[in-house]
Amino acid sequence: MKNLFSKAHISTLIIFLSIMLIVKIVYFVVLLLWLPSKGINYSQEKQVNALFYRLKLSPNKAPPPRVVPKKQVVKKVLGNIREIKLIAIYNALDSTVVTIEYKGKTKVLSKDENVNGFVLEGAGEDYANFSKQGKMYKVQLQALKESKKHIRPIRRPSSLAKKPSTEVIGEVIDAGDHKIVEKSLLTHFANNLDEVNKNIGIAEVKDKNGLKGFRISFIRRGSPFAQLGVKRGDIIKTINGQKINSYNAAFSVYKNIGNIENLSMVIERGNEEMELEYEVN
């Protein structure tokens, strides 16, 4: 007992305890000054809404893209698509050129050029697509019209489209007033996120209230995305009623895209909001 409380032992104990105390104080100061005392408890956003589907009572007759005027009143541009006669089409991998007759004059148009506000969007084997104020117009080749061929959904020749690195099964079919997206195409992209990234780029768009939507930063030419009618610079705002105002919402839509039967998308192009509708088959 006497040995236990010897002066040497007590001094050793004091050194030991002093060092412990010093370390504790140092850690306390570090904790107080630099380290957080609470963790980040992230509560996941409320589950995004189930995607709604538009019921179409008349199959294959989806309404044309609807233009919803936003803030600015959209100026009505005079002119009729019937005034444009399609004379010739040149379609290559990287360019589309058409020859048209407009008010008795012949003009050559490249993609994205316009005549009387009708912008050339693309062309197929025997037709050309024009857009004006968010509406798509299809003009049949004049020679075909004269030979009284019926208007029918035309499949874009697959040889014209640049094939992505892995085989894409399915395509987007232009049925004139609306587009049909093959289900297998959606399934393919739903299972291959890397393929999506190769074909289309999106970037977030923020305003003072947070994320406003996602801007299309690029679309690979010839890819199925290019045939959807969306353009670089368009802001995707909703998909099937789901507001795309967070990464979680966008990813949730992406994860469910393989199970949908109709696709409706609201985009902002310039000062206009447009609703694009697709049939999934």
Binding site: I15, F16, L31, L35, I40, L193, N248, Y254
Partner: protein, 171 residues
């Protein structure tokens, strides 16, 4: 003799105190805060603190608000001269399965002050077993594939060397 004894006792006390009083939870919260800068958020169900280790259980990982991965358990352990981080049961969202392996059974990271500029890593998952070394001075990562039976998944990223398949990248 008494002086030597006191020095040894002081060193032991210091080592003991540094480990015992280390604010392990707060250090983990610090890591969470750092990850937040990259929009990565971690949610854990349970945190267990012990003398030399910190166990984080059932971690859910969110990247930009998207629940992308979950980890059964993360174990941080340190003896001051070395630090180990072990991840068990890492599962990555199926939608990314074409980009990264969907499940990783175990990832071990080891850092020792004896080789302070290197970080050693080994992992086991659906891709087989790999060992890796990060050279922080040259800023390179070298990964060696040990188990070639499940190599197909990783092959697009690998090169074949004299010792077998490997992956190398500088950062």
């Amino acid at each position: 003799m008494q002086v030597v004894k006191n020095i040894l006792i002081s060193l032991f006390a210091l080592y003991f105190a540094l480990l015992l009083f280390m604010p392990k939870k707060s250090l983990y919260y610090g890591i969470e805060k750092e990850l937040l800068k990259y929009d990565i958020k971690l949610n854990e169900v349970q945190i267990e603190e012990s003398f030399m280790a910190l166990k984080i259980k059932e971690v859910s990982g969110y990247v930009k608000g998207i629940h992308l991965f979950s980890i059964d358990e993360i174990v941080f352990s340190t003896g001051l001269f070395f630090t180990d981080i072990e991840l068990h049961g890492l599962e990555i969202d199926a939608s990314l399965s074409k980009l990264v392996p969907p499940t990783v059974e175990r990832i071990s990271l080891h850092h020792s002050i004896l080789s302070a500029l290197f970080l050693d890593l080994d992992a086991k998952g659906v891709f087989g077993e790999v060992t890796a070394r990060v050279n922080m001075l040259e800023r390179t990562v070298h990964v060696d594939v040990n188990d070639t039976s499940k190599l197909e998944m990783l092959k697009p990223w690998l090169k074949k060397g004299e010792k077998g398949w490997f992956y190398e990248k500088s950062f």
